[in-house]
């Protein structure tokens, strides 16, 4: 493993871990439903930029840890994370060619899939909340995507 590969791997782990911590940081009530899924956005970013180090297993583990942090049914976020990671891997060659707004739209689609999985498994386990505002993170995540890309590119510029 080259040193640059190692720093990249480290950055990947650190960014996903930071996303997980930010998933439970208290926010004001009006902002809470809009909270973007930063951990998932980080996973998508790394799959698009360095698919060789961002595999499915780590995405699954991150999802599982999110389940534990939030006290949800075990496996719920894990399933969403691994599905999104898989789709991102399959579409990765195309998606990295897209201009940023186009890419944000594709990310929005991935986030919608993720939230659909959560919504669906919520319903199956009897926690169904059907309000429209549970879909807000899809929008906020897509709007945040250009910033994620900018931040990620700044971080990895050195090791490129």
């Amino acid at each position: 493993m080259t040193p640059s590969n190692f720093t990249r791997r480290l950055l990947y782990w650190l960014s996903v871990a930071a996303g997980l911590v930010l998933a439970i940081v208290p926010l004001p009530d009006w902002l809470d439903p809009v909270r973007p899924d930063l951990a998932l956005l980080a996973v998508i970013y790394w799959i698009l930029t360095s698919p060789r180090i961002a595999g499915l297993g780590y995405a699954w583990l991150a999802g599982l840890f999110l389940d534990v942090l939030r006290g949800m049914t075990l496996g719920q976020h894990a399933l969403g994370f691994v599905l999104v990671a898989f789709l991102a891997h399959r579409a990765q060659l195309r998606m990295r060619m897209f201009p940023i707004p186009h890419q944000a739209a594709a990310v929005m689609l991935l986030l919608a899939v993720y939230h659909f999985v959560i919504f669906w498994t919520d319903g199956l386990t009897g926690h169904g909340y059907t309000g429209w505002n549970r879909w807000l993170p899809v929008l906020s995540g897509a709007l945040l995507w250009p910033l994620i890309v900018a931040a990620g590119d700044t971080l990895t510029r050195r090791s490129r």
Partner: protein, 333 residues
């Protein structure tokens, strides 16, 4: 023609194909979900994993706690003096009331002993503080900093200074997850302090509102009535305030009235809560005149003991609550 593979991982040491990895992990997560919800097999696994999550949760909570401590320790002297004076005055007043209360409590216990139901009154409490951690925007759950190590158990009642707060839904080693009475999956048996009417208060997902879906149109309940806990079901101690009725809407054509209540506990603003230990009542509290009434009252209280059983309140209470409310006039407390 050269075809690019979707799989852009290194060719050497690539491991199993992407699709196979995905399938394995997806099936693993589905298996986890089934084992967790249907069979409750994962208590031990969850405990280990939550031990790993604990440092993260504490780390998130720490800055907020530090800020509280800072603002507390740099409070200026005159404000502290003022506060001290106020507290002394309040303590004097409370002590005065307490002198009378001690005698009353004694008398009350004697009378209750005569009726052989002194159970259901809180006898030990533990102060716990809520960790500054957002679990889920759409579920009313909070994390306490006390867990199995402090003797907290699943289903334990949680109170604050103003009334009933919730119950423990999950216990970890150092933390415990509490489901608030306002959570849409929670139901608590209550009783009107004025008329003695017994019913169930169900959470709505709004921390300022409970709903009483099983009050018949002709039952004796009006806005301003205080609802207290009944102790039926054995989860909550008896006689603590739960909510105040804010709205009663009766449509003559309907079977049930539309009743809303506001929780007396400060569900969204509290930092400190009390974990309560008490002797759960062994049998149904009231020896009701006819056996049908006592069997009707018990299952209607059952949903509150199991917050996870979501469909229970609806299925159990629609049938049973109507006879239960009908019998209450014969069994005043």
């Amino acid at each position: 023609m050269v075809e690019l593979s979707h799989d852009s991982r290194p060719i050497i040491g690539r491991g199993p194909p992407l699709g196979a990895t995905f399938l394995t992990l997806a099936l693993a997560s589905i298996g986890l979900m089934v084992a967790d919800t249907r069979y409750n097999q994962l208590a031990q696994v969850r405990e280990w994993l939550s031990a790993a999550a604990y440092p993260v949760q504490v780390a998130v909570d720490l800055p907020f706690r530090a800020w509280d401590w800072l603002t507390g320790s740099f409070a200026d002297r005159s404000r502290l003096r003022q506060e001290n004076l106020e507290l002394t005055a309040r303590l004097r007043l409370a002590n005065l009331q307490l002198q009378r209360f001690a005698a009353l409590e004694d008398e009350n216990r004697r009378l209750r002993d005569m009726r052989e139901n002194s159970a259901g009154i809180a006898d030990r409490v533990l102060v716990a503080s809520i960790l500054n951690v957002d679990l889920d925007p759409f579920r009313h759950r909070v994390l306490l900093d006390k867990g199995a190590a402090d003797g907290v158990f699943k289903g334990q009642a949680v109170l604050d200074a103003e009334g009933i707060f919730g119950q423990v839904a999950q216990v970890h080693a150092e933390t415990a997850e509490v489901i608030l009475i306002s959570d849409a999956e929670h139901a608590i048996p209550v009783q009107s302090n004025r008329s003695g009417l017994r019913t169930i208060a169900v959470g709505t997902g709004d921390s300022n509102q409970l709903s009483l879906p099983f009050v018949t149109v002709e039952s004796d309940l009006k806005a301003g009535d205080l609802l207290i806990s009944t102790g039926i079901g054995g989860v909550f101690p008896r006689g603590y305030p739960v909510a105040e009725v804010t709205r009663v809407e009766r449509t003559p054509a309907a079977t049930f009235a539309l009743v809303d209540a506001r929780p007396t506990a400060r569900l969204d603003r509290n930092r400190e809560v009390l974990l309560v230990w008490f002797n759960p009542p062994a049998a149904p509290l009231e020896p009701a005149p006819d056996p049908a009434a006592s069997t009707a009252a018990a299952p209607s209280a059952a949903p509150a003991t199991q917050p996870a059983a979501a469909p229970a309140p609806a299925s159990a209470a629609t049938g049973e609550a109507a006879p239960a409310t009908a019998t209450t006039p014969e069994a005043p407390r």
